[in-house]
Symmetry: C2
Subunit: 402 residues, 2 copies
């Protein structure tokens, strides 16, 4: 009992030191001691062990404050790798990512409407590819998937597009690859990605990321942390009814936000236009066709696209009123509609939210284009304090051959 | 420099110990040391000083685990008092509250439509009364006010009903009473009150409190803490447009949530009914008149009230989608409409939110009736970690005669 407590305390201190090094580009042992309130001896012992594990390196000398110049430590960013996986697109996309979020290798597999067990098989295929990409050791897998996810259990509750229901994805992948796995909703992952790697976000600040694509989702960062709600579903704004008696949504309700603001809503409405070139082949109307018509100034298409923007602006106004989070970022396929689309969103938000809140709110496009989900899903693994334990156990697997 | 750091560290440790005692009904010195990771000597020294300050008392003996029975410590809950003030009603209400949130004395002053400097004068009047209520020493004032509040600055940005704009309320009261003052939005205060004193809320859990009265507001508790957003306006859901081209709202927009779901919306609609007894004196239609008609089964009034409930249910559905917070509490005058009104809110929420989220969401009435704002406003003062510093400085004022 007493021994277990001492062991826990040692683990705690080790992770505190590692986290402190992780949070700084370079840092001296003395600074670590000051920040962590641990003694210099304890810090030195832990650093010695982290150097031995090659998780940390000595980078050079810092400025002297009178005495000896202190040795600066830094995270050995290429000493371990993570695999990030984005299941939210028409092709699954994976990347090997170093400990600082640098993308080292990528690959993708077209999904071609496969779902259920077939879609899961594609997940194994693309991960297998990444495992032999030459970047070793891989110490964790982060997955961003569409649908409702309870990431505390690693469970995909429901992902309509992939035909998954109550799929214990994290457990399956953990058992198969013997690595820590984090599974989160794609919009939540995108929010983490933009927050951590998208520049301009202060530590412990708030951020809303709107993911506008086939469906509509959001990710909410509160005080620098991803807020997932009680059941993991925070940000699932796409399936709230905004138009009573509206169109049937794929969730079974009528008039959800997705039926008026998403890409699928636009595709559906475009398909009903008699004058639209492909109206006799509604199923083939996709982003490409619509985008072309939009930039060619097809008035009807423009109206449909900007109507969708208006509805999205309204949904954002509601979030502004509820949360008063001033920084809002939009990512996803629909951002291709560009600044005209964005301007309508901004105008509606300004008109529909309380003016004192709206005037302090900015809405802009994300910085990471297609990598936000990948990066965000692995970032959760890296930035969740408890996961630093997992990296250690992953190490044991590699070094001790378990 | 070195000395300042040591002083800061001492303050830090003192507050850590005090907070630990605060968070437990009774606790031994050994337990405090275990929780805070401070040495037993440090803990004993700090406890000695807290006993000397009479903030803490020795309550009795705990169970022995082999050796001597440990002495149990507890917060001296009646050693200091706070004044709570609720400015959100037709009368200002104040109470003296002990350190555990027990209400010791109350008073109220009718507001009678006074606003601006006159309303501020009433604030001083009611506080003056509380200061001589016989409960001493008073160490802080917590104020819950309607309107947009930036509580980090203690500034009332805008409170339409009270005719206040950019009023530095906390500063005014601090200078006048020489006490720490916390000013927060009334719905946010209500949320804190319900969360901390309303029973059934686990530590670090999430909660949404909807304040349904003349206006509509909300307070959001995330991981056990009040979330105020970037500018203090989180929960200001009443002024988001939910009905384009709807009625004019007192904020200047058209079709805000308040124009369809609040008590003032009901009063306005009731006033337009030809058949309603007081329709020729629309200004005198108040909660009382409407409530009487409602329980007497006046069909038109019932329809108006339940329509308002439907709109509120829709607004709650949006919050459920955005935040996936499963525990929702409704407070405010409108709760008088009782379970029929609540049932319509619940039904609409269930139909308008994603079913997987809705099924794990409960909506119920608050537990504190009219004290939630008072209690919440003082609780912010007590539970905000940094405020424990303030209690100390307040002490200095009393003991050192500053």
């Amino acid at each position: 009992m007493e021994k277990a407590t001492r062991q826990q305390s040692k683990e705690h201190n080790r992770n505190l030191v590692l986290k402190t090094i992780f949070d700084h580009e370079t840092i001296s042992r003395a600074e670590i001691a000051r920040i962590t309130r641990l003694t210099r001896t304890t810090v030195s012992d832990i650093v010695a062990s982290l150097l031995y594990e090659e998780l940390v390196t000595e980078i050079g000398y810092g400025e002297s404050h009178g005495g000896k110049s202190p040795i600066l430590l830094g995270l050995a960013e290429d000493s371990r790798y993570l695999v990030g996986l984005d299941l939210s697109r028409s092709e699954f996309r994976a990347a090997v990512i170093n400990l600082r979020g640098k993308i080292c290798a990528t690959t993708s597999i077209p999904v071609s409407n496969r779902s259920g067990a077939e879609a899961l098989d594609l997940v194994y295929q693309i991960l297998d590819k990444m495992m032999i990409s030459g970047f070793q050791p891989i110490v964790g897998i982060g997955v961003g998937t569409p649908g409702l996810v309870k990431s505390s259990d690693g469970m995909v509750i429901k992902a309509v597009n992939l035909g998954w229901e109550n799929l214990p994805l994290a457990e399956l992948l953990q058992n198969h690859y013997r690595l820590p796995v984090c599974v989160i909703n794609d919009s939540q992952a995108a929010a983490m990605g933009e927050y951590l790697y998208g520049e301009g976000h202060m530590a412990e600040s708030n951020l809303i990321v709107i993911n506008a694509r086939h469906g509509i989702g959001a990710g909410i960062i509160i005080n620098g942390k991803l807020f997932q709600g009680d059941g993991g579903g925070a940000g699932e704004i796409g399936h709230t009814v905004v138009q009573e008696g509206g169109s049937l949504c794929r969730c079974g309700s009528y008039g959800c936000l997705e039926t008026v603001a998403s890409l699928q809503a636009i595709e559906k409405k475009a398909g009903m236009l008699a004058a639209f070139p492909d109206s006799n082949r509604a199923s083939e109307i996709d982003m490409e066709t619509i985008y072309t018509a939009f930039i060619e100034d097809n008035i009807q298409i423009k109206q449909i696209v900007l109507d969708a923007a208006h509805h999205l602006g309204n949904a954002i106004a509601v979030l502004v009123g509820a949360l008063n989070i001033g920084q809002i970022i939009i990512v996803g396929d629909m951002t291709r509609f560009g600044h005209l689309w964005l301007q309508v969103i901004k105008n509606t938000m300004s008109q529909h939210a309380l003016s004192t809140l709206a005037k302090d709110t900015t809405i802009e496009f994300g910085k990471l284009t297609k990598d936000s989900v990948l990066l965000g899903a692995t970032a959760v693994l890296l930035h969740d304090y408890s996961v630093l334990f997992m990296i250690r156990s992953a190490l044991k697997h590699h070094y001790l051959g378990h």
